[in-house]
């Protein structure tokens, strides 16, 4: 197995970067989009609420694989052509934003309403209150669930292999095909996914302790 590992290493190194890039990239972009959708969901403006609700309904209610295939194979029919990597990044972002928006919405509603009242009573406006008081607390509440979403997202990047993105799963498949050593290759990348997610779990736990230390 070691010889196979050494042979696969140059390709795997690039594949790890791709997997991490797709996963973390989609997580960051999905966090921004998800936060916007969460704010729309709790907005006083009904059309915005409806829009956000529909978004979550569609992107959480359909398989990620279908979304990836639609973007990569479907959109060119309408003149929107994207290369595999941006297609995958877009699909992962849209998909994770749907889940993350619900995480943020839960976090925001979990902040005690007295916090809004205290801020309003000192004449703080809606956006300042969100930025200074509510969101910092909502993030702390949402952190464990956000961590779970990130881990799920790292694993979901494997679906990008279907549209020829050279991430870990696709590299394993290709080397497996050329050497007929599928078992070892998939065990190898399986272990690598696991390892990445362990590191992320440790990071999340550390952040959680650091951020919520004062609030307990």
């Amino acid at each position: 197995m070691w010889d196979l590992f050494l042979r696969a290493l140059p390709l795997l190194q690039k594949a790890i970067v791709m997997t991490l890039g797709l996963g973390l990239g989609a997580f960051v972009l999905g966090t921004c989009l998800g936060l916007m959708i969460a704010l729309m969901r709790i907005s006083a403006v009904r059309p915005l609420r409806m829009l956000a609700f529909s978004y979550v309904s569609i992107f959480r209610g359909t398989p990620l694989l279908v979304q990836i295939l639609l973007i990569y194979f479907g959109l060119p029919h309408y003149g929107i052509v994207m290369t595999p990597i941006p297609s995958a990044l877009l699909a992962l972002t849209l998909f994770s934003a749907a889940y993350l928006s619900e995480t943020f919405r839960a976090g925001i509603s979990a902040v005690d309403s007295g916090q809004w009242e205290a801020a309003h009573s000192m004449s703080m406006g809606y956006w300042t209150c969100l930025r200074r008081i509510i969101i910092p607390q909502a993030f702390r509440i949402a952190l464990p669930t956000m961590g779970s979403r990130l881990i799920a997202l790292i694993k979901d990047t494997s679906l990008a292999s279907t549209i020829t993105v050279m991430e870990m799963t696709r590299v394993a498949e290709q080397i497996g095909a050329s050497t007929f050593r599928y078992m070892e290759m998939f065990l190898m990348v399986g272990a690598m996914y696991w390892l990445i997610n362990q590191v992320l779990t440790i990071l999340q736990t550390w952040l959680e302790g650091r951020w919520t230390r004062h609030m307990r």
């Binding site: 007295g114 205290a118 309003h120 009573s121 000192m122 004449s123 300042t128 702390r140 004062h214």
Partner: protein, 252 residues
Amino acid sequence: MNTSSVRVRGLKKSFGDLAVLKDVDLEVQAGQVVVILGPSGSGKTTLLRSLNLLETPDAGTLEVCGHRVDIPSHGRFDRATRKQVALLRQKTAMVFQSFNLFPHMTALENVIEGLISVKKVPRAQAVERGRQLLAQVGLADKADSYPAKLSGGQKQRVAIARGLSMDPEVIFFDEPTSALDPELRDEVLSVMRELANSGMTMLVVTHELRFAREAADRVVFMENGRVVKDCPTEVFFGADSGERIQQFLRRY
């Protein structure tokens, strides 16, 4: 200067079928300390929360620190009214029963938050003022403590300092000691007494009769959503305040 800080006319508020405020009038002169007493559910807290529009009344007019808000008969506040609400809130402060300190900020950060994010005071200047205010409520040494590490009485004193940071013309106290153990109440009450002596205009919803007796200029007694009695403190606690008041006072 004998101007009114708070003037309320015909205030009405219902929660569903329950009428909590039924046509309430109230006037508070600048510099006065007014305590609002009354049994639970009499509308005291709703009245107080209406004064800075944390609760939106159904009808009535209020004028607080020179800012007038007419409650529209239906529909939302227009832009001009919302502006009045924002200005009114800048001139008032509120102290809550459950403190409502910002848990992710230290005591000092809590106190200077309004200065920095609402009044746009430079940070160094805000910190200096914040330390002053913490010293005033006897918590100079707790500036860097987070709320979770403070006792209830200390939290409420930080909340008072936070309210004072905005240089309010009136402070509303909503049952400021009700969530505290008896031995922690005194430290909060003594800070409030000092404020009263310094000439601050205060409206206090409370069950602390001793505080009312010692610090209030006037007592407003509410029952079933109405002001039943509004009189100088010595009259309220005197022998001729009426059968209902005597009955209420006996229960405490």
